[in-house]
């Protein structure tokens, strides 16, 4: 009895593990994470959070108006730059075509000695 339950558990596990391979072969859409349309860079959220913080602190009377304005402008500009870069980047890369992305990366590397952040450069 106990061995039957054990075997059932093992078989069930094996099926669950094999499922992604089966669906991948039969062409059903895979569950692997796909690169979706230009995601706003994660830094953006923290910049927004910083702006909210700043506002909160000004409301609490912690910040002189001039310092607040100065920092707010800096943050807004930073956020705008992030948005612009994301937009430009996605425009150049297009539909996340890997070949194109690679091309851009090499070009960039040639230009600035720096590759853009992507999951591909981790493998090396």
């Amino acid at each position: 009895m106990e061995f039957v339950v054990g075997a059932a558990l093992a078989i069930f596990s094996a099926v669950v593990l094999a499922y992604p391979f089966l669906t991948a072969r039969s062409g059903v859409e895979s569950h692997a994470p796909v690169l979706d349309s230009p995601v706003p860079p994660p830094e953006l959220a923290s910049v927004y959070q910083a702006i909210r913080d700043l506002t909160w602190e000004r409301q609490a009377g912690d910040l002189p108006e001039d310092l607040y304005q100065q920092q707010l402008d800096a943050y807004r500009r930073q956020a705008a730059l992030l948005l612009r870069d994301a937009a430009v980047y996605s425009a150049v890369v297009g539909e996340s075509d890997e070949a194109l992305e690679q091309e851009v990366a090499t070009e960039l590397a040639a230009r600035g000695g720096q590759t853009p952040q992507s999951s591909q450069d981790t493998v090396a």
Partner: protein
């Protein structure tokens, strides 16, 4: 807007030089302020007071007993790992506590009692290594390491400060066409937090 008002008041507060009664300040806000402060003070003082009321009572305990208890906490029980003779309830610990009291009654001092037990059981009977000889190492490390860590922290902070703050410095890269994105930032901030809309003027973009 709202942010301006409290500011005035605080600069007023600042001029109160002595750390004396907080209720010296006028105004409704200041008054409430001091009520909160007072209640906090009151609570803490009451608690501390409660602890302190034990002080005269401690005199009831004979001096030798307090001293004996202090010594009990400095001696490990040899047969039970990790317990002092004050904690342990085994026979040996009881006998050792008795011996401590006998010695004190005969006029021995704290150091003599400790030495007596060290001579019989070795230094490991002491709950903390003695501050002498090689064992100074045990004490010197924290005394050295902690100031070093703090100094290291200060150095690191200074190094982090050396360059001008990046976010306030002009960010490298052209500013071409930033306006639509700035507008979008403002719009998203407005949507996300309607109550805390940062006031943004046209002076914002540079």
């Amino acid at each position: 807007m709202a942010g301006v008002l409290p500011f005035r008041q605080h600069s007023f507060l600042c001029r109160v030089k002595s750390p004396s009664p907080p209720f010296a300040k006028g105004g409704e806000g200041g008054f409430r302020h001091s009520i909160a402060a007072l209640s906090c003070l009151l609570l803490l003082s009451l608690l501390a007071l409660a602890a302190v009321t034990q002080r005269p009572a401690q005199a009831q305990t004979p001096h030798d007993e307090a001293e004996a208890q202090a010594i009990d906490r400095m001696l490990m029980c040899p047969v039970c790992p990790g317990e002092t003779i004050d904690q342990s309830q085994v026979e040996l610990a009881r006998q050792m506590r008795l011996r401590v009291r006998e010695m004190l009654a005969q006029g021995a001092g704290r150091q003599q009692v400790l030495d007596f037990f060290v001579a019989r059981y070795g230094v490991e009977i002491l709950a903390a290594p003695p501050k002498s000889g090689f064992n100074l190492v045990a004490w010197i490390f924290p005394a050295l390491a902690v100031p070093l860590a703090l100094a290291g922290g200060l150095l690191a902070l200074r190094a982090m400060r050396r360059r001008p703050a990046a976010e306030l410095a002009p960010v490298p890269g052209p500013d071409v066409g930033l306006d639509p994105f700035l507008a979008r930032v403002d719009q998203e901030l407005t949507v996300a937090a309607p109550s805390d809309v940062p006031r943004t003027g046209s002076s914002a973009d540079g």
